[in-house]
């Protein structure tokens, strides 16, 4: 069942069209990959979904509700949380404070005790966060910071997580760990929309995917289909088809 659905979404920066009519959907319980080169419009797509960038036309629907252009701080309450590009942690605050702020949207509705329970759950998922609870977020390593960014987003108990290039800047080992966690989160019931430039790794854990080029979807399919696609192999997997 499709949980998130974009229909003909356009968006522009100072008159320059960055999204030229994007239509895509992400199914409940799945990992959907959104792939493409630098500047293709992947982050813009996520930011339109989250309300940080205004859609000029088109519709964003989540769980059957039209959420086009609602305020970013209200989107979280709908069960849709983004782990932004560059992580954007609250570096001067402690790891624990970052996590607690992750639950900010639910503070009025849930008791302290429940939040504490969620905190323990996230720490179980990411043991390194428990160890570093009282350290400043900006003292963590890159891999740990990405775990914190994901943990912070999980504190909002989202139905769907939007991840913007979680592996960027990480050593291969740390990147693999991040991809494994993403897979685990999906298996625990959080649907995922994953933006990546590491196409091979993303398609390894994804169910379906889209390829974005200069603001337009140019390819769509299951992960297997995309991995087998000549254009994908040539452009993103570094394989020269003729040699294969």
């Amino acid at each position: 069942m499709s949980l998130l659905e974009l229909s003909s979404v356009t968006a522009a920066y100072e008159g320059l069209l960055a999204l030229k009519g994007i239509s895509l959907h992400a199914n409940e319980g799945e990992i959907t990959a959104l792939l493409g080169a630098n500047g293709a419009g992947k982050s813009t797509t996520l930011n339109v979904i989250c309300g940080l960038v205004t859609a000029q036309s088109g519709r964003v629907c989540f769980a059957g509700e039209d959420i086009t252009n609602i305020r970013a701080d209200q989107v979280v309450g709908k069960g849709l949380t983004q782990v932004p590009e560059g992580r954007l942690l609250f570096g001067e605050l402690t790891v624990q404070d970052n996590l607690l702020l992750g639950a900010y949207s639910r503070m009025s509705r849930r008791s302290r005790q429940q939040i504490q329970q969620d905190l323990e759950e996230v720490c179980e998922l990411f043991p390194v966060l428990a160890e570093a609870a009282h350290r400043r977020a900006d003292t963590l390593s890159g891999g740990q910071q990405q775990m914190l960014a994901i943990g912070r987003a999980m504190m909002s108990a989202p139905r769907m997580l939007l991840l913007d290039e979680p592996s960027v800047g990480l050593a291969p080992k740390a990147a693999n760990e991040v991809f494994a966690k993403i897979k685990a989160l999906c298996q625990r019931g959080t649907s995922i929309l994953l933006v990546e430039q590491n196409v091979a790794a993303a398609l390894k854990i994804a169910d379906r995917g889209y390829v974005l080029e200069v603001g337009q979807i140019v390819l769509e399919g299951t992960a297997e289909e995309l991995l087998a696609n000549r254009d994908v192999q040539r452009a993103y997997l570094g394989k020269d088809y003729e040699e294969v």
Binding site: L88, F90, G91, E92, L101, S105
Partner: protein
């Protein structure tokens, strides 16, 4: 009066005026951190607190009630300023917003003049005029009030930021607006709250200071500028730094006023005390551009 007594007097005077500068700097810091704006109407909040309390006492309210009402009204003014002058403007142009606060300060100053005239007004001291003895020196008890209220304001604000989730959410806004929104923080509400909070501390300072120095419609500008200097010397964005900077400026001003004339054998008049405080402040900034407690900004990647 012995030299020690004199020294104690000047120290008390310096610290009690310095904490007021510090609290103005603190208020500026709160808004600056939440929005990036320097609020040039901050000193007017101090002035309105003092003059408002006087007006309320004059219409017959008991002093404690007048104080409470004045602080509440100035808080309302702070909220209104944010709502009417700041929020309608695009948040992207900090310079426009700062100019808007200058406009607000002129409006508030003009309003106070229309309402209460040009004369300086005074509030009765909170606990009499009987000097409090420290050793052989006698201290004006109202100055102790000023210091106590300032200390409580600082502790209150620090605790708010350190121990409450709302305080942390406000810091989160300061660190990264987009990230704050992505966890569900309503930026407008935080900005509103920052104006309210800084109006409260400013108004409180104005109210306790008025029995010592009197208050006039035009005094806000001095508070703003000295408070800004305090915040910059302390390290812009650092709330404790603002207070430290304020106390330092107050002390310099008071000690220079007391001793520069005799020390230089009359060569430099005590009237230059503010200029001397300013010169020292500039010297500090020249040696340490990030301010006393400021951290050097890390190079963005």
């Amino acid at each position: 009066m012995s030299l020690t007594d004199q020294l104690v007097q000047y120290l008390v005077t310096g610290v009690s005026i310095g904490v007021v500068y510090g609290v103005v700097g603190l208020g500026l810091t709160i808004i600056y951190n939440a929005t990036g704006i320097i609020n040039f109407a901050q000193g007017e909040f101090v002035m309105l607190g003092g003059m408002g309390a006087v007006a309320l006492v004059n219409v017959g309210l008991p002093l404690p009630v007048a104080v409470a009402v004045a602080v509440a009204v100035v808080t309302g003014v702070g909220l209104a300023v944010e709502r009417l002058a700041i929020r309608p403007l695009p948040a992207t142009s900090i310079m426009t917003l700062i100019i808007a606060t200058i406009g607000v300060s002129l409006v508030l100053k003009g309003g106070a003049k229309l309402l209460w005239g040009r004369e300086a007004v005074i509030l009765p001291p909170f606990s009499g005029t009987q000097p409090v003895r420290i050793g052989t020196a006698g201290i004006d008890p109202q100055r102790l009030w000023v210091m106590a209220v300032a200390v409580l304001s600082v502790i209150g604000v620090q605790s708010f930021f350190r121990y409450t989730l709302t305080g942390k959410a406000m810091q989160a806004c300061a660190i990264n607006r987009a990230a704050a929104q992505l966890v569900g923080i309503n930026i407008n509400r935080m900005v509103s709250l920052s104006f309210a909070l800084s109006a409260v501390v400013a108004a409180l300072a104005g109210v306790v200071l008025t029995p010592v120095t009197m208050m006039r419609y035009s005094q806000g500008t001095t508070f703003t500028l000295t408070g800004f200097l305090a915040a910059v010397v302390g390290g812009l964005g650092n709330s404790l730094g603002a207070v430290v900077g304020g106390i330092m400026l107050g002390l310099l001003e008071s000690l220079a006023g007391g001793f520069i004339d005799p020390l230089t054998g009359g060569m430099v008049s005590s009237g230059y005390n503010k200029a001397i405080a300013l010169a020292v402040a500039l010297l500090i900034l020249w040696l340490r551009p990030q301010g006393l407690l400021g951290r050097q900004k890390k190079e963005a990647l």
